[in-house]
Structure formats: C-alpha cells, structure tokens
Symmetry: C2
C-alpha cells in the first residue's frame, strides 16, 4: 500500500485517504497520490510482467489492499492491429486496446472495481450515481458483488440493455425524463438527504485510479514504452485523465522515459465542448446546449474534469477533433467488415477522428496510433440492420453475390 493522501489538482489542498471524500472544498475533483519513491525501491517493472490476469496485477499503483479488492477479472485487455483500416488510411500501425473484453462489456468496469473496493472498505453502505448507461451497469455489478446498496438514475433514452443490467444486478434504478445532468441533480439531492455516497464521475477519487490501469497496461504491453498518439473518445474524459496520470507515475518510478504520446480527444459534432474549448485555446469548456449524438458515452455537455483533459491535450501537443454522426456509423461498419472488430460507437468516433486527422494533415503515416475501444459493440446492436433472407429446408444456399 503506497497510497499517501488525496490532493486537489486545482488548489493543492490535501486530504487524508482513510475516509470517504467527494470533491475538494474548492469543488475540484481530488486525485490519489502515492509514495512513488518507496514503490520504486520495492517493486521492479519486470514484477508486473506476470501475475494476476486482471488490472489488480498493478495493485502497487492502486489504493486498495489485497483484502479490499472487489474483482470480476477486469482489465488486462489485449492490443491488436486494425491492419485493414490502417492500410486504407495510410497508417502503418493503428492499434486497438479493446476494453470490450471486460465485465459488463466496457472500461467502466475498471473504475467500478476500484471505486467500489474503496467505498466498501471505507464504510459506504449505499452508493448512488447518475449515468448515461454503461457506468450504471458496471457499478451495479460491483455493488452487488460487494453487498452494497446501489441507486442509479438514468435518462429515459439510455440504452435498454444498460437498464436491464442495473435491474438484473439488483440496483434501485430510476429513469428520468430529462438529461444526465437532471439525473445528477436528483442523485445529488438524494445523497444529501439520505447520506448515500455519491459516486458520480470524478466526484469520488478512486474511479480514475481504476481507469488509470489502462495506461499502466498499455505501456507494459508495448515493452515499457508509449505509442506516438493515443486517441480517446471523450465524454467525461476520466479514461484520458487516468492514462495521463498513469504515464506520469510510470515516469516517476523510472519505468518509462519522458516521452509522451500526443493525447487526442475525439467528440461528436453534436456535442463537442472540449473541441470548442481547444479551438479557442481555453483551459475549460462551456456547457454545450442541446447535446445530441448517438454515441451516448460522449454525450456529456460539460465534464467536471474538462480542465484536466485539456491540460493533458495541451501538455502533450495533442488536439481535440469532432466527427459527424454519419462518420461514426460508417466507421463502425467498416471496421467490422475489414478488421473483424465490433467497436462501440464512441470508439468508432475515435477511429473517424483518426481519419479526419489524416485528411487534415495532422497525423503522419509512421506515427503509431492507439485507440481505446471503450466498450463492446454488442451493447449497440440496435445500430445494425438484420433483414435476412429466410429459406425452407428444401431450398438451396447460393454462392455469395448470386
């Protein structure tokens, strides 16, 4: 256990890690800090190359003790190449880190595993959150496993499959006639009234620590180095912030050098507050009115951690780009057909962002690009048509094309 304290990245206030905390008094999210000098003395990077088949292999960089861990085998997801699409875009190496191969089918499982492990350890009895869908599924599953009550509020237009997950795992689930921000206010009010622990995005400090393991893993998987570019579909942006934090910690313990990937945040044209802020050169985003995109995970009008996302983008000489709805759907289909991968629409947006960067001359063909597929496309089968021929058993199958 190398966790020492929580720190506010905005006002530098510090907090003890031994009890439940939400935001800093200044309303900023809090970040977990570790005694990385001692960690570097105790642990070698080669120690990480074998061990548990889940993200807790990296327990030295995480806040929970062995006995606290609530795990369903999350993390240690594979990398593979999109050779077909990469070739079409003129990119030598276009890699996917596939977070669809996780409990509940998304990278939300990493945050939920770490967040619930800590909430349970620190005495929470009921956790509550608003969600666009996938986070609700993940936190409901881990809360069930930990024996915690869980209250979920989601917009009535959230994907039905995520509603079903919450119900199946026994969460107390409400649909809300409104946006995720409306659901957030309802949860906030209920938490104040009933003393539930609010686990909304970045309102507690440990979800990001779980997400951070994506960065720890990808560096190890590349042989303790980083790709040239990491492309991330940014909604709340916790994954991007987490990866950035991971690389910083890996450098501090001397396991990687000072090279950093360019961090690219991709959003949909119908909800692009980070892109707008980036284009203005601002360090915070404005609330995006009438947010609209079929990629629900990036339909976030104003992220609590927007300043941290933009900080990483600027510091890494990265960028923020937006893509159309048509590009998202077309890319999803194209990647499936040429590379056999069923990406979620958010990751399809990220791949479309790569295509856009190539068109705009913002990406060289020899840059090694890694895209985070934040979830399995199987949760988005509504986007696929299946109008198929139906034949009798005495009919015949014809060759493709006939």
């Amino acid at each position: 256990m190398y966790l020492t304290h929580l720190e506010c990245p905005r006002c530098n206030a510090t907090y003890e890690p031994d009890r439940l905390h939400n935001l800093c008094a200044c309303k900023s999210p809090l970040l977990a800090r570790y005694d990385l000098d001692t960690l570097a003395d105790d642990v070698q990077r080669s120690d990480m190359e074998r061990g548990r088949d889940d993200m807790w292999r990296f327990a030295a960089f995480l806040p929970a003790a062995e006995s606290d861990i609530i795990s369903l085998g999350e993390g240690m997801t594979p990398l593979y190449e999109l050779d077909g699409l990469g070739g079409a875009l003129g990119i030598e190496s276009l890699m996917i880190k596939d977070e669809g191969y996780n409990p509940t089918g998304t990278f939300k499982a990493r945050g939920a595993s770490c967040g619930i492990s800590m909430a349970s350890r620190l005495g929470a009895e009921c956790v509550a959150m608003p969600t666009a869908g996938n986070a609700g599924g993940a936190w409901s599953a881990y809360a069930a496993r930990a024996g915690l009550d869980c209250v979920i509020a989601m917009p009535e237009d959230a994907p039905e499959i995520t509603m079903k997950e919450c119900v199946l795992y026994g969460a107390h689930t409400y649909l809300v006639r409104g946006l995720i921000s409306d659901a957030g206010k309802l949860i906030n009010n209920a938490c104040e009234k009933y003393g539930w622990f609010d686990v909304s995005t970045l309102k507690e400090p440990y979800r990001i620590e779980g997400k951070k393991t994506m960065g720890l893993e990808l560096a190890m998987q590349l042989g303790w180095r980083v790709p040239d570019v990491i492309v991330y579909p940014a909604g709340g942006g916790v994954g991007l912030i987490g990866i950035w934090k991971a690389l910083d910690e890996l450098q501090q313990v001397g396991w990687i050098g000072e090279e950093r990937p360019r961090m690219v945040a991709v959003q949909a044209e119908g909800c692009a507050p980070l892109v707008e802020a980036f284009e203005r050169g601002d360090t915070e985003s404005n609330f995006w009115d009438n947010a609209e995109t079929l990629a629900g995970g990036i339909r976030v009008p104003k992220a609590l951690g927007d300043f941290l996302v933009l900080e990483a983008v600027y510091a890494s000489d990265g960028c923020a780009v937006s893509v159309t709805e048509d590009a998202i759907v077309d890319t999803m289909r194209r990647v499936a057909r040429v590379d056999g991968a069923f990406l979620c629409p958010e990751a399809a947006a990220a791949v479309a962002g790569v295509a856009r960067m190539r068109e705009d001359g913002d990406l060289e063909s020899d840059e090694e690009v890694m895209i985070i597929n934040t979830g399995s496309g199987l949760k988005y089968s509504d986007l696929v048509e299946s109008d198929l021929p139906c034949i009798d058993k005495d009919e015949a199958i014809l060759p493709p094309g006939e």
Copy 2:
C-alpha cells in the same frame, strides 16, 4: 511448430496436416497430434507465465505458425470466485472461468481464431457453417479479418444479436425455417456443390485446438494443477473435449501430474441426449427429438463428438446431469444479484447443475469447482425484465424499499 499429423480417435487412421481436411473416412472427427517430446525439451512451463495477452501465448501447443495467426485478442480470460452462491450452496470454492471476455462475447472466438488461421493458411477461400448463433458471430468476425468469404445458415429463431453480428461482419447469412440440423444439411449440400470449406462443429480439426487453450490456461492459472471438478454446459461438447485433450497434453509434457478433474456435462431437461446416454452407461447418444431449451448453445440433439464427451466423463469419474428451464433462469438472476456476474443461460445451467449435484450428494463441500461461463450474458438481455419507474426532474428519488 510441433504439429505432426491428424489422427482419427475412432479408427486410428492418420492424415497429413498440410492440407484442408474434414472428417476421417470413417466419419469420425479428426484430432491434431503434436511432437510433445520435442516440445517438452524446447519449452518450459515457466515460459508460459508471461507473453502475449491472448491464447496464442500457447502457440507451442497450437497448429498455426506465428505468421498465420488471425487474432482479435481472444483467450487469457480470468478466473474469479462466486463466493455468494458458493456459500449458499455450501461449496468452499466455486470458480468461474469467464469466457464472456472474448471477441464476439463468447468462447467461440477461440475456436474461430484457430480454425480460421488454419483455413486461411491451407488455402480455403470460402468457409461455411450452420450455427445456433454464437459460432456464426465468431467465425464471421475472424473470416472478415482474414479476408475469407463466409456463408452462415442459422435457424430463424436464433438470437437476433447473432444474426446482426454475421451481417455486420459481412458474412453471407441465411435464416432457415427448421432446426440447426436442417441448416447443417443445406450447408453440407452447398459445400459439396461449390467447394467451400465446411467448418461445422468438429467437421474440421482445428476449432477444438483453439478451445483446448481453455484447459492450458486454467491449469497455468491455478499454478499448474487442476481443480477437483470442471462443470461444462454441453451442446456440441467441443470445449469439454478440448479441455480434456489439453490436460492430457500437459501431462505428456510433464507440466501437470496425472490428477484429473471430474468432468461434468450439464444439459437442459428439454435436450439431454448426453445425460440419457450417461444414465444408460452408453458410449454414444441418441438423437433427441423435439429439442427445447432457452439456452440455445446446448440445444444440440446429437453431437458429432458425443463419444468423446462421454469418454472424458467416464474416464474422469465425472457425470452428466440435466436441469430445468426454471432453474436456468433463476440461477442466472441469482448469480447476478449475489456475485455481480451476468452469466449466459448455458453457464447458468451449469451452475444449476452444481446445485443439483449438491442436493443429490454428488459433490462434497471441499471440492474445488470450476464452471466455464461460455459467453457473456449481455447477448441474452431478452431474458431480463426492465419495467422501471420513470420520474420527472422535479420529483425525488426514494430510498431502496420505499
């Protein structure tokens, strides 16, 4: 590359591995054989404890050369405990090997990765198969990745999500008014007419080699030993045969001893040909008329490899048990609620089979039990209700129970 030849387990005929083969002349499936003595000289089991994050870490035990591999990061799935349900059933260790965390969400990805790698290497241009659903999704994905044509026939009542997968990956997909056996005949006829390679279950020898990696992995994950009992939901039974073959090969190279788990095949009462054969003490099963169960993956009236499944069950002092439809659905819900895992109905049947064995006195509390969750429950969300309260943004969220 340690592959030496293909062998018929029924008549012992041998075949060269360098060209496409279907069944033996005697109509039995063929099995791949390796030069395990040389493998044992060249490779140590500790070499397997680090490396690729997918099943191809075990390439020494597989037929494809590095350059042949068609991979989407399949395998190396985690183990975790069902403490809640295990406690309720009075079992000290009830483990899941979760094959839902795979490309296309099921263990079918292992077989497809190996099968397509070899079909592509050996010159197939078009692969064809009947499927109840999940195999179609997996083989379509890997065929797309390899650039092969793929023809799929499935009963019209197959899960819609698997139809969509086939379409998305660009397979030429037919629905058939009939059973999977009718679809199989249509595929067989088309393969004979057009020269397509028939990749039906066990009709080519390499799907089982991919499935075998489950056995290699689980032994490594337990520290090069085996659990007391492996419980497997048996449809075609390839996974069970593959695990059994893996343990045999691991013993031959000296990486495990001669201990074997009791191999348990679980089926649904509405389609239990292997259970019926087991209860009669027979070495083959009879065709099960009017097969009926909501767990489509185990709705197989007569498996081509039935004799191999029963051989493993008898040799290991295992058994075959059947469970009711109600037990399947109840178990799926209960495991989600107490342990946070969304099993597929086939695996829920396996867990229900464990409960039945406990009731019948066929399982001791200190036996270490491992269940193969053959796929993600996310592909079966139809089985979950989601009739949720919908509130306005000026209403209030109430505590659980009110």
